[in-house]
Amino acid sequence: MLASIGHGLRAAGTQRKLVLLLWAWYGLLSFVPVFPAFVWLSSGLNMRPASATALQRFDFGLLSELSNYDQSGVFGLLVVAAMAAMVVALVSSTFVMGGVLEVLGSEDEPRMFMHRFSRGCGHFFWRFVRLALIAGISLAIVVGIVAAAVGAMTAPMGKTEWEPGWYLAGLITVVSIAIAAAYFLLGLDYARIRVARDGSRGMFKAYVASLGFVARHALPAYGLGLTFVAALAGVALLYLAYETNSPAAATTGAIVLLLLFQQIVVIARVFARVGLIGAERHYFALASPAATPAPAVVTVTTADVPPPV
């Protein structure tokens, strides 16, 4: 597992362009709800002396008054725009993950990074869409069953006079759902890796095989995921510590510094995800060697085509 973690980190460290590309793409997507928010906030706050409190603390009153004053429902539209960006991101993950796996799998290839990335995106797109649908549906069904079953089992705890039991019941339900959901998400990860490595066409079969793989190698599979999640949590805590203890972002320099710190956190998030995929690829290769090692994508060029006889 440690070797896989090391491999994953090296892979993410080597593929800096990939990390930056993903950061830039999702950053750009985020601007869909963020730019109108900036315009709205600017029109509402920039001329108002009262907005100075926004530099000292998060002021609920100010936000409420901004919404009340505007009366145009912009706040609701911003939430809708954010949700739209999230949906686009979710859909684009099926596209992007093909590129990520292709780039990680073709490190030695001399072709340009963008060429390899685009090739992977396009090549695996439909298969990854099918995989995502299968994983999404099975995840929804199983998570629903787990939530209902665990909820029913822990319900008596929530009705006792032992108050911590209420929260424990909720915690057990949430953790159970998280474990079940993680199982299906890890299955999705390994299925994509399998498809990219073996060129599988049967997505259902690949997904089931990957669920079996995760079940057989639960400790390392969950362990790898948790390691990267823990690392991210560490970064998040560092950010919170900065945000809480740094002087209020009241000057332009402080705001720029905050923005910089925030982007470092987002890049770290992308780095961790790419690293996790790298680590999973490595572990999968060790635990389930390919019968016939083959390039993920067979590229046919005109030079390979025999001349007409």
């Binding site: 963020v34 920039n46 603390r57 998060f58 108050e163 705001i255 923005l259």
Partner: protein
């Protein structure tokens, strides 16, 4: 050091002739209750006997009918007014299925033995709902003459509901409130503006609390011996009975209600509020000065505090004690000493939250959670806020006994205002509710957050059950009145407001005031007629909102055109005038004309201060009566305007929007950039996570 200072201070007080204490020492005792009740924990039932002596408070009326509240009948079935109005849900709590509550009067006799039971009938003075049995009336065989008394012996059985709307049981936890037949208030002509004498005895509504006359209670409560109990008043006796029960005797005078609780799991925490240890000499001196009273008049009394805590909330014991002490200290200093010897704070059992956050004389219920033991929830001051608020009702409800059915703001609103002031005194402004991760929230923020330009269809002064939609009762009874009082304080000043509130409490302690009494007192002490204010914001429902609709500042342009002068006719071209203006700006000799339009956006008018900040100069402040729709302030000065701001000290708490109060001449991007960066960070994290699934 502190105790030595106290000794010196009080030694000095001893030689200063004290003014007569204006605080009433006793109530006009209209009722005397002697009740014996036993609890059957299995059936959740009470068996009680009640000897009630009622004195006719009128000097002119002969009273031939008595009216009683039978509050527990509100939970009897789905046809009661309470259940119909509430839909079986109140304060976030849901009425349990098949856990009805009711009260049966099984015997009603005069002390002389005349049986009145047959004449006992249910009446519905508010809504004519014949299925509501929360008010009963009985015609007396002999009317009670003015000033005369009647004694009744009542036997009753009460079935407690599963905890809902302040009272009931949850497993072996019992919070027993509104549990005995309680006589209504006979209001003689002249009392609370009544033109003729009559009973004030409303049905129990979803949005209403209570109203009763002052008197004394002696209550014997028999419960299983393994239960821990607490009640209104002082425990004066207890005895163990055969059969594993114990009878506790509680007595209290000068109160208008009695509640009690029992639970075998309570952890009992006791503490003492010390009038010398918990209040510093400097604090006494500051408040005495503020109120214009002698130190002796503001001196407090010691109080025994009992906190009945759930075992899982043990780490919060000190928080409740400190909150109770803060209430005793600040309410006592501002409004008058707490006159009772005891204060009991009850922490309801898990699942019994419907009994939480409630007040009874000398007995309050808290609101807490196991989560508050731990970080980060321990950063929430909600436990303190609830305890202080409910304690505050000892002053605005228990001692100043307004009619909560008809004028709820006089207790809930006054208390919300007082709670915010106390929380601010304890934790500091803007962080009384929460201070965590750069997010802070104060009591005043919470009160202001609930104010909205759309809330203008009801009034503060209306019957509590008449709000449409019913949910707005909370805003009009709690938050808006607090904002009304806070705004008044901002206008007349802290000192005058403190004196008004103090005097109001003193005059109406152990009495039943109405809103008009408060209005009259404000006029009396300020020497001004504030009818214009109360008409708009208490009797009326309109919104208050001022803004700066425009602010401009530009150099005074040199004149152009043809001018006749002593030297003959001179023509100044547009270009020359423009250049002259430009040169003046460059040479910093230009005059600037500034125009600021202040606008009254709401219907409510209120005098406001407008601040103008010119470059390099201190603020200029001007006042405006706020009556017209707009007022344009014009200046010609050698400095440019930087910003203008209406109500710069944010004293007009009723203003629904403070953001629009000010306007800058030049943009400042920082606030929007700061918030946008956080919004971007949030969206980016979510989008990136989803995009890399």
């Amino acid at each position: 050091m502190r105790s030595m200072a106290s000794v010196i201070l009080f030694a000095a007080l001893a030689v200063v002739p004290a003014k007569a204490d204006p605080l009433p020492q006793k109530s006009d005792q209209v009722v005397q209750y002697q009740i014996a009740v036993s609890l059957d924990p299995a059936k959740k039932q009470l068996q009680g006997t009640e000897r009630l002596t009622w004195r006719n408070p009128s000097t002119t009326d002969t009273v031939g009918e008595l009216r009683f509240h039978l509050y527990l009948n509100a939970f009897k079935n789905t046809k009661t007014t309470f259940v119909k109005e509430s839909g079986g849900q109140l304060r976030g709590d849901e009425m349990a299925e098949n856990a009805w509550g009711w009260i049966d009067v099984t015997s009603l006799k005069t002390a002389a033995g005349a049986d009145l039971k047959a004449g006992l009938t249910f009446i519905q003075p508010d809504d004519g709902n014949n299925d509501d049995q929360t008010v009963a009336s009985v015609v007396l065989p002999e009317p009670v003459p003015p000033g005369g008394s009647i004694t009744l012996d009542i036997v009753f059985t009460a079935q407690l509901p599963q905890v809902f709307a302040r009272t009931g049981y949850k497993d072996d936890f019992f919070l027993v409130g509104q549990w005995f037949p309680k006589i209504g208030v006979y209001e003689p002509a002249g009392m609370r503006g009544q033109t003729q004498g009559g009973w004030n005895c409303h049905q129990f509504h979803a949005n209403s609390e209570f109203y009763a006359d002052y008197g004394s209670f002696r209550v014997e409560i028999t419960i299983p011996s393994n239960y821990v109990m607490g009640a209104t008043g002082v425990r004066t006796n207890q005895r163990t009975n055969p059969g594993g029960t114990t009878t506790y005797v509680y007595e209290q005078a000068d109160v208008h209600d009695f509640a009690w609780t029992a639970d075998p799991d309570y952890v009992v925490i006791t503490a003492k509020f010390s009038a010398t240890e918990d209040v510093s000499p400097a604090e006494y001196a500051r408040i005495a000065k503020l109120l214009g009273r002698s130190l002796d008049e503001v001196k407090l009394s010691d109080v025994d505090i009992t906190v009945l805590l759930q075992p899982d909330h043990r780490p919060q014991a000190q928080r409740h004690v400190d909150a109770a002490k803060a209430g005793l200290k600040w309410f006592g200093l501002w409004y008058g000493r707490y006159p009772y010897k005891t204060l009991t704070v009850v922490d309801p059992a898990p699942g019994g939250g419907g009994a939480g956050g409630m007040e009874y004389p000398t007995f309050i219920t808290a609101g807490s959670s196991w989560l508050l033991n731990y970080w980060p929830f321990d950063k929430l001051h909600s436990a303190e806020a609830v305890t202080i608020h409910e304690f505050g009702h000892q002053f605005w409800y228990a001692m100043v006994g307004n009619n909560e059915f008809e004028e709820a703001w006089l207790d809930e609103g006054f208390n919300t205002y007082s709670t915010a002031k106390t929380m601010t005194a304890v934790f500091g402004r803007d962080r009384t509710m929460l201070e965590f991760l750069g997010i802070s929230l104060g009591e005043w923020d919470v009160n202001r957050l609930s104010n909205s330009p759309t809330l203008k269809y009801n009034r503060i002064l209306q019957n509590s059950w008449s709000y449409v939609p019913p949910g707005t009762y909370g805003f009009y009874s709690y938050q808006k009145p607090a904002l009304v009082l806070g705004t008044l304080e901002g206008y007349i000043g802290e000192e005058m407001m403190a004196r008004i509130m103090r005097t109001y409490h003193e005059r109406w302690r152990f009495k039943h005031p109405r809103s008009e009494d408060f209005f009259a007192l404000v006029n009396e002490l300020t020497g001004q007629d504030f009818g214009w204010y109360f008409d708009q914001v208490v009797r009326g429902g309109d919104v208050l909102d001022y803004d700066i609709s425009s602010a401009t500042t530009r150099p005074v342009r040199a004149d152009s055109g043809v001018f006749d002068g002593p030297g003959g006719r001179k023509t100044v071209s547009e270009e020359a005038a423009h250049k002259q203006t430009e040169d003046a700006v460059k040479a910093k000799t230009a005059q600037y004309e500034t125009s600021v339009v202040v606008r009254r956006r709401g219907e409510v008018y209120f005098p406001v201060t407008v601040a103008f900040k010119f470059e390099g100069k201190p603020e200029v402040r001007m006042t405006w009566d706020g009556v017209a729709r707009t007022n344009t302030f014009k200046f010609v000065r050698p400095e440019k305007l930087e910003w203008a701001d209406v109500d710069p000290d944010r004293k007009v708490l009723l203003d629904v929007n403070w953001l629009n109060n000010g306007r800058r001449i030049e943009d400042d991007l920082k606030p929007s950039a700061s918030w946008t960066s956080r919004w971007l960070f949030l969206v980016q994290n979510i989008v990136t996570t989803l995009g890399l699934f």
